[in-house]
Symmetry: C2
Subunit: 157 residues, 2 copies
């Protein structure tokens, strides 16, 4: 790469940022999420997890005793995708499926001791990463943003 290539790329980006998409909230939301998701997946890869499997493990580790149907409903993933995610966590000994005493069709997903440890390790990494990632906002701004996101995330419930 010659020494002007970086500058040329930066100029092109500047020109495109000044178009209407630079103010489009949906576009910005998608981009901000893509940046956040990519770095979170990088962090979680060290623990053998991705954002998807980490989310399942977090819900199970919180002793919420979700059925697979509840996980599917909450995470907005198809039941068949939940099967694959729970299979993966179960193969590593981090969760087990228990029969739901109130509905013999349903299976409650429960964390194991090893799963609790794995979650604790991953959670520490994720927290540190998020503090760093969102450090361009101050504490008040993060609180406001969290409130906005909580409202937007629950729009269609």
């Amino acid at each position: 790469m010659d020494d002007t290539t970086g500058q040329v790329q930066a100029d092109g980006r500047q020109r495109l940022w000044r178009t209407s998409v630079g103010d489009d909230l949906a576009f910005l939301l998608a981009r901000a999420n893509a940046v956040s998701l990519a770095s979170a997946n990088r962090i979680l890869a060290d623990e053998g997890l991705k954002v998807r499997s980490y989310s399942v493990l977090a819900l199970v580790a919180a002793e919420a005793r979700p059925t697979q149907r509840e996980l599917s409903d909450f995470l907005r993933l198809d039941p068949s995708q939940i099967v694959a995610l729970v299979d993966d966590l179960q193969d590593r000994g981090w969760v087990i499926r228990e029969p739901d005493p109130t509905d013999r069709r349903a299976k409650v997903v429960v964390v194991t001791a090893a799963g609790r440890d794995a979650y604790a390790r991953a959670h520490r990494r994720v927290e540190a990463h998020e503090r760093e990632h969102f450090a361009i906002l101050d504490d008040d701004e993060i609180a406001q943003l969290t409130s906005f996101m909580q409202r937007l995330a629950r729009i269609d419930e």
Copy 2:
């Protein structure tokens, strides 16, 4: 569905929202984006577009005269994906590829008259949809959120 099923689902969701993921900014960002993306794609389907192809059309319609390399760089999509998106828009007569006079390897993507019309129609729909989607926030909150997102969206440039 019997008349208690909806309540059972809502209870399960409430229980899961109270876990740590309910305050996790990265999780909330992902969920808020998923909700926004899904509804935007529904709106754009009426014009034969998706968020991806709409973004390309918007950048081209702004007379930014991007090369495919610049589109790839800005949208963070692989050059081979840009090829497919531009092919699609070109097949519908909305954009054309012009040789870049300053670099014979590069192709500048330019909007046609029909493309300008298509973009205008799609843009009106998207604007109306976004006003409605983000109406749970007031004008000040939207301005703040836009500022936050602009900063987060450009973290790794």
